[in-house]
Symmetry: C2
Subunit: 339 residues, 2 copies
DNA sequence: AAATTCTATTAGATCGTTCCAAAACGAGTC
DNA sequence: GACTCGTTTTGGAACGATCTAATAGAATTT
């Protein structure tokens, strides 16, 4: 009986093309050493046999597995999802595959998936870390000598000097607050976000710096960063803080929740009560009223992160310790409604 | 000078534990052949040396790489994203890692990423295919003898008999339409979705079967499946089809767009004009008014898909040719507003 | 005491690549 | 004809695990 057809190997290709396996290997690596004529012969043999490269074997001998690990604290959040997707696609375009894992903000799960990635021989890891937990993950990555890039969130205990990159949240907070003032807001609140986390603190610090400069009193209503929280705050603001006429939300989830909360209680947004979000998720433009938001170009950030990491791997270009990418404010009806 | 510390291998572990490398290998594979005492010795040696398993090496010899490929046509869509995430986490829980790729509905990109996954030696592929393109992807997977599961979307030209699974869209269409009738709707429209695609056709067919049974005239307004399309349709329905008092939307994106469109033109939703969505994305519950939607339990579907595939791999349990998982209707204010 | 069974361990081949050092080749130079 | 030289090509040793068949030792049966 016919045994299952074995996958062809470079030896089979070599035989068919009438060269040695070493030559085939050189062709695979696009080495300039091979004569053009030989190269095409080998390529034809590959096509004829339906040869597929076996990366596991290659990886055993050489370092580069062509696999990049991507660890994200909350992939359900469209902001992170968008980042992950554009990063993955950029990697793909340069011939790398991405192992992606969601940690759901759980440091133990994070330790586990990073361990798995190291086992799989990823060439680099891009990490938007869960808060909490020890530095075990960083130590493991360090021990395995795996280039690691921290993104979006800066960890407090970060002992190892892994490079970090994120959009310039602080500047975003400044832009948004300044805009609200320019639109005539007299009392501006900051709503949402979990206290003590780098992202919240940075956005908040931009907000505070602007108010400080004008000697205005801040109003900080941190808590969660969900749509539901935003919705709750709509009522709370109307009831407890009627003088607030401008709101900078921690992110678009909160802002969108706030918008629907306002719709619910019949409060008009855009003129007497202005709302600005953060992240500019796709939905912001389509909300009603359309949401003004700090655009972080997270898709661009994702692909540039991919480039940075691959340049590190392939060309030894070590990234800067800290990179902040520029943000812009997209003004829409929620803060500049037609009067 | 001290050369970079080489990663310890099973040989190092064996030496330290005073056994042969074969024994260490058996321990790694949790073989019951090893004496308990020996096992703990080996485990200790591993811990001492900081040994990490090298899957590339293992994969070279044995088949199972512990890697599963996940190919999704549109990861930006929260429905698919949710699916991918829960699938990945279920895989993770069973010790597998996921290589995830977004194809952006591009058949060529899809062919490319599947090729890359085969190179990486994935043990199985889960595919929500892009429409269009030839069957090359299926042929490649077939040739490489990689167990492949099609999900969520059924391809027309599917030559190879790969198993398929999705929520029971047709039943969902029936449930939603019946509910609208029960709520007193007299004229029900189906809005959104791209014609000719399996998902649209199935949802539509559930809708049509219910109307047919009562000899009612359908009104089908297919087009796109975006929020923007839903918003456009709010105006169109009011202007051109004023008698329509119930709408079944292709998905929640369309429904949510329709809701904001209605908010914009000041049309009340929930009593005289009832709207039902499809997919029950997280946001549906938090929209205003809260959106009635067909709940597909996509998270549950993701993890059960993971289980199915791993049972196939590990225990040889070949999945059924076609599986449809049950759906339920979640009734909220958009179709049952308090009068 | 020899033969049999069972348990626990092991040596050595093997997987499909890459890498190194060496070799083959042709062309030009002495 | 022997030599250097640059360009191509090649054999064979890695890489780090798994797998098969063999083996040593203890327990049981004959």
């Amino acid at each position: 009986m016919p045994r299952a057809a074995r996958r062809p190997t470079i030896v089979d290709v070599a035989q068919k093309a009438g060269v040695s396996k070493s030559t085939v290997s050189l062709v695979l690596q696009q080495s300039p050493l091979v004569r053009a004529e030989t190269r095409t012969q080998v390529r034809e043999a590959m096509a004829d046999l339906g040869y597929v490269y076996n990366r596991a074997a290659a990886n055993l001998r050489s370092a580069n597995a062509g696999l990049i690990g991507l660890v994200i604290n909350d992939l359900r959040n469209p902001f992170f999802a968008q980042f992950a997707i554009s990063l993955q696609m950029a990697l793909s375009a340069r011939g790398y595959a991405a192992v992606i894992a969601n940690t759901d903000e759980d440091p133990n799960l994070q330790a586990q998936v990073v361990e798995a990635m190291i086992e799989h021989g990823v060439s680099a890891v891009i990490l938007s870390s869960a808060y909490g937990g020890d530095d075990g993950v960083f130590e493991a990555l360090n021990r395995a000598a795996i280039p690691t890039m921290q993104v979006l969130r800066k960890m407090a205990g970060q002992i190892t000097g892994f490079p970090f990159a994120s959009p310039d949240y602080r500047e975003g907070g400044r832009l948004a607050t300044t805009h609200l003032l320019d639109q005539g807001a007299k009392k501006i609140a900051f709503v949402g976000g979990l206290e003590g986390r780098s992202v919240t603190e940075e956005r908040l610090s931009g907000y505070l710096s602007v108010l400080d400069a004008r000697a205005m009193e801040p109003l900080i209503l941190t808590g969660r960063s969900s749509r539901g929280f935003g919705r709750e705050m709509a009522r709370k603001l109307e009831d407890d803080y009627p003088d607030v006429d401008g709101v900078l939300c921690f992110n678009d989830q909160v802002a969108l929740g706030l918008l629907s909360g306002c719709a619910e209680i019949g409060r008009r947004v855009g003129t007497d009560f202005k709302v600005v979000g953060f992240d500019d998720v796709e939905e912001a433009a389509e909300a009603w009223p359309a949401l003004t938001s700090v655009h972080c170009d997270i898709a661009g950030f994702g692909s540039s992160t991919a480039e940075t990491v691959l340049d590190w791997l392939e060309n030894g270009m070590v990234p800067k310790t800290e990179t902040r990418t520029p943000v812009t404010l997209i003004v829409r009806d929620s803060s500049a409604g037609t009067n």
